[in-house]
Symmetry: C2
Subunit: 268 residues, 2 copies
């Protein structure tokens, strides 16, 4: 089992970031988009990437080959490594890069139940856009949800609006439009969120970005969430209120699956 | 050098908390207050303490003896350890406890220059009260400050008010009153903050809790910060505006030093 120094700032302060990438048919899905977010996040945190994304891709392919795991989730984590004590950074740190491969999570058998939780993010927090290793907000959302008997929970922003769940972006159908909260509300710009926005547009359903309170979601025609690990997942309940279904959710699930298959066939 | 598993949730998610305790004359200062915050934080995060605070104190004393470091800062860190993948917790995790001892930071030679930064905390975030291992906000505040040529920076809350610096609580003198932001503004309830409130009260200067914008601090009669590592430190500049001095700051520094000496002599 891999071990790291107890002085690694990843362990001391959660001083790092990561990507979780779907691997299908032995190929990482949406690799370029993941790498854009990863490298942008590293710049934001001021952590130097120890190798190029091209070299990273070589490592990823080697790991898939050695593990013989063609269906999986690849986790690429970068921490600032060992540095001076305290919160100051010098730029002399030796970052730690760790690539691990995991079984894909099982797709939920039925629509998710989601609830509001005590997890909060400040509007304007520049860290909200980074998939960082500071994940206590997500852990709190998930724990709060479990305590309420729900599958997952919302992280709310300082205006009381919904940003995302512990690990997925949020979409809802209201009337004839498909909507999702804007990144400026404190939303992590999800790679699968981005894909789904494109797929919806191709289906003639452009996505409108709009802030949303949890109560409004209870009245939605349909709600679903998206993540790299599990794709498009329907939501059946928000804060105890049962939600209906909408053909658009199935259409987007099909479009997502088709894109995944196309990617595998094309070898891109 | 101590090593931990790369699967430790402390490294994966910053899923843990810590205390940094001043050791003077071979005794941990304000031990009970640190332990109250530590155990309350562990309960909040749902991490089981692997041993009693009494047993922890035994370890701390043994470390002081073995290292022959009677003047130092003791760091006690607890992470949730190795668990299931993802943000969910089961309660079956084996927490990681790590106690390390460090040279005390040098006291700044001159009053600090502080600046506003892009670091944000949401009002109402239950994690703000926990000295957790999610410290990217503090790292960002410190980096932003360094980029502006300042010693340290403010973390602002979602209302735009000052909560604290990257590693210290804030007080200011305005007219005849001493003030500090309330914990409900998103402030970590500092152990030295608590001590200074008591010392000020004993000097006939009860502390008033009040929200404060950075601009208002520029007009203050005096500003100072408090932390377990460095005690009471004067601030000479806020966002470029020079600040005066006030006798109360020196009085509180003297009272802090006296308390530290008394603690050592009393053996408590």
């Amino acid at each position: 089992m891999a071990r790291i120094s107890a002085d690694d700032r990843g362990f001391l302060y959660g001083d790092g970031l990561f990507e979780a990438i779907r691997v299908h048919d032995a190929r990482p899905f949406l690799w370029e988009w993941h790498m854009m977010r990863f490298t942008d996040g590293a710049v934001s945190l001021g952590i130097a990437l120890p190798q190029t994304t091209e070299s990273l891709l070589g490592n990823v392919h080697e790991l898939i080959r050695r593990n013989s795991m063609s269906e999986s989730v690849m986790r690429i984590a970068l921490s600032r490594g060992i540095g001076e004590r305290g919160y100051g950074v010098t730029g002399e740190e030796q970052p730690t890069l760790l690539i691990t491969q995991h079984s894909p999570p099982t797709t939920p058998a039925k629509p998710l139940s989601l609830v509001s939780t005590s997890a909060r993010v400040a509007i304007g927090d520049p860290l909200a856009k980074v998939k960082s290793a500071n994940k206590l907000g997500s852990i709190l959302a998930k724990r709060d949800a479990a305590n309420q008997g729900a599958d997952d929970g919302f992280i709310l922003n300082s205006d009381g609006n919904v940003t995302e769940t512990s690990s997925a972006n949020l979409f809802w159908v209201e009337g004839r439009t498909l909507r999702t909260p804007p990144v400026s509300d404190g939303v992590l710009p999800g790679v699968t969120r981005r894909l789904v926005v494109g797929l919806a547009s191709a289906l003639g359903q452009p996505v409108r970005e709009e802030s949303v309170a949890p109560e409004r979601l209870q009245q939605a025609d349909a709600v679903f969430v998206t993540s790299a690990a599990t794709g498009v997942i329907a939501v059946g309940q928000v804060d105890g209120a049962a939600l209906g279904t909408h053909p658009l959710v199935c259409q987007l699930q099909d479009a997502y699956d088709a894109e995944l298959a196309r990617h595998a066939a094309a070898g891109d």
